[in-house]
């Protein structure tokens, strides 16, 4: 018997090892949400990110000049917009008071820099140099000057990993700014799409898509992208709309984390959905 096993091992050891390792991988694939795995992951990326941040700073220096030019231009454009928005602001304040709406203009912004990126076609993630010490928590939205970048997935003491919009596991509730129609947006491995859109929806090519206030993960309107391609589904009642994101995930370097503190109950409910 032992000889038989020895012979089998000698003949097929490469295949036996391969099958064993694949089995272990498959088992681990089902353990992604376990507390142990999360803890190990936090330690691993926290340690690696501290090295990456030093390395990343060297490369960032060269891009500062280009970024400054962009910021100056953005500042000028914003200055023009501000004067217009001031007028609207006065009207808005009056209307808010009348409707007793909550003020969302003073949300806490936690500045952060992206220290590493894993931009695979299906699972885009970025590591940022702020962590639980700075008040970052899983589920907080990550934004930059262009719009929504992603959602914090996991935090260590000084670093956090965020799923970018280019991650198949991230679903965000969004709405069309013009029509106010709500939809769920996800990355299908190829492009951002609004899924299960009833054919009666009025969303058109070129419409701005922003995050929806009905989501308690991102309870403020953050720009997401532009509706680009309206699917033409012949059968069925639902459609798909492709969205071109405002954020260039490959070039994004500096971001802000919206430090929104929600009620524990809402947070738990939303995170259960987010973790799926």
């Amino acid at each position: 018997m032992l000889r038989l096993f020895t012979n089998l091992w000698e003949k097929f050891k490469e295949y036996i090892i391969l099958i064993l390792l694949i089995l272990i991988s498959l088992i681990l694939l089902t353990q992604n949400q376990s507390a142990g795995v999360k803890k190990v992951r936090t330690i691993a990326f926290g340690t690696f990110a501290s090295v990456t941040s030093v390395f990343n700073d060297i490369f960032n220096t060269s891009s500062i000049r280009r970024e400054n030019e962009n910021l100056r231009r953005t500042n000028a454009e914003l200055m023009l917009q501000i004067s217009k928005l001031r007028e609207y602001g006065i009207i808005g304040e009056d209307l808010k008071e009348m409707l007793a709406l909550k003020d969302t203009s003073n949300l806490p912004l936690i500045p952060a820099s992206i220290v590493s990126k894993s931009l695979s076609v299906a699972q885009g993630t970025v590591t940022v140099n702020t962590g639980s010490v700075d008040g970052v928590k899983p589920g907080m939205p990550v934004i930059n000057h262009s719009g929504l970048v992603g959602i914090i997935l996991s935090t260590s003491e000084n670093y956090s990993i965020a799923r970018t919009l280019q991650n198949v596991n991230l679903k965000v509730t969004v709405k069309c700014e013009r029509t106010g129609e709500h939809a769920v947006m996800r990355w299908n491995g190829e492009s951002l799409v609004l899924i299960n859109i009833p054919k009666t929806y009025q969303i058109q090519k070129g419409d701005r898509i922003v995050t929806s206030e009905i989501s308690s993960i991102i309870p403020v309107s953050v720009p997401v992208g532009i509706a680009a391609d309206i699917g033409k589904v012949e059968t069925g009642i639902f459609n798909e709309i492709t969205v071109i994101p405002f954020v260039d995930f490959f070039r994004a370097e500096h971001v802000f984390i919206l430090g929104i503190v929600k009620s524990k109950q809402i947070e738990d409910l939303e995170l259960n959905f987010f973790n799926k």
């Binding site: 390792l21 694939l29 992951r41 894993s118 931009l119 590591t127 198949v168 299908n188 491995g189």
Partner: protein, 162 residues
């Protein structure tokens, strides 16, 4: 052999550092080369199939942990990539396989296997067509990786370093 394995695992970290900081700067659209696969193929050709399979497993495990990917997805893909590259690790033909054109072709094949399996396990989106999966998710990144590997192996010093 054991020292070689430890060296390869240690060498993984600076390569991952480059993969996550510099490589995104040279990406074309959504197509990003995978230099970790190049390292894996290189060590597999030099040390054999079992070595490559185990190394792929460890690389995948570390990659999944550090980058926040679904734990297990990259492990399976890299294990199979290492295993497939192992078919080109014959001791008598090692020097031939490490020639730039051959090496690049092996990297292309391994990268193709890796990308297909990784996409299958990480995307799990059945709306993506097989043709799209093969072309955009696998063929183009594999081709890009093969081109990068051609440069790397071309400038690899003839004297033994690792």
């Amino acid at each position: 052999m054991r020292l070689q394995f430890i060296l390869a695992v240690l060498f993984f970290f600076p390569v991952l550092l480059v993969q996550t900081t510099i490589i995104p700067l040279i990406s074309i659209g959504n197509i990003t080369p995978n230099i970790i696969i190049i390292l894996l193929v290189f060590y597999t050709i030099k040390n054999g199939q079992i070595f490559g399979t185990l190394l792929g497993f460890v690389f995948g495990f570390l990659f999944d942990l550090i980058t926040g990917s679904i734990l297990g997805s990259s492990m399976i893909a890299k294990t199979i990539a290492g295993f497939s590259a192992g078919y080109f690790s014959s001791e008598t033909k090692r020097a031939i396989y490490l020639k730039p054109a051959n090496f690049s072709l092996i990297v292309f094949l391994s990268s193709l296997f890796y990308s297909i399996i990784y996409s299958l396990f990480s995307t799990l989106d059945f709306t993506t067509t097989v043709l799209n999966l093969l072309f955009e998710h696998a063929l183009l990144p594999a081709l890009f990786t093969a081109v990068i590997s051609l440069f790397l192996i071309f400038f690899y010093p003839k004297r033994k370093l690792f």
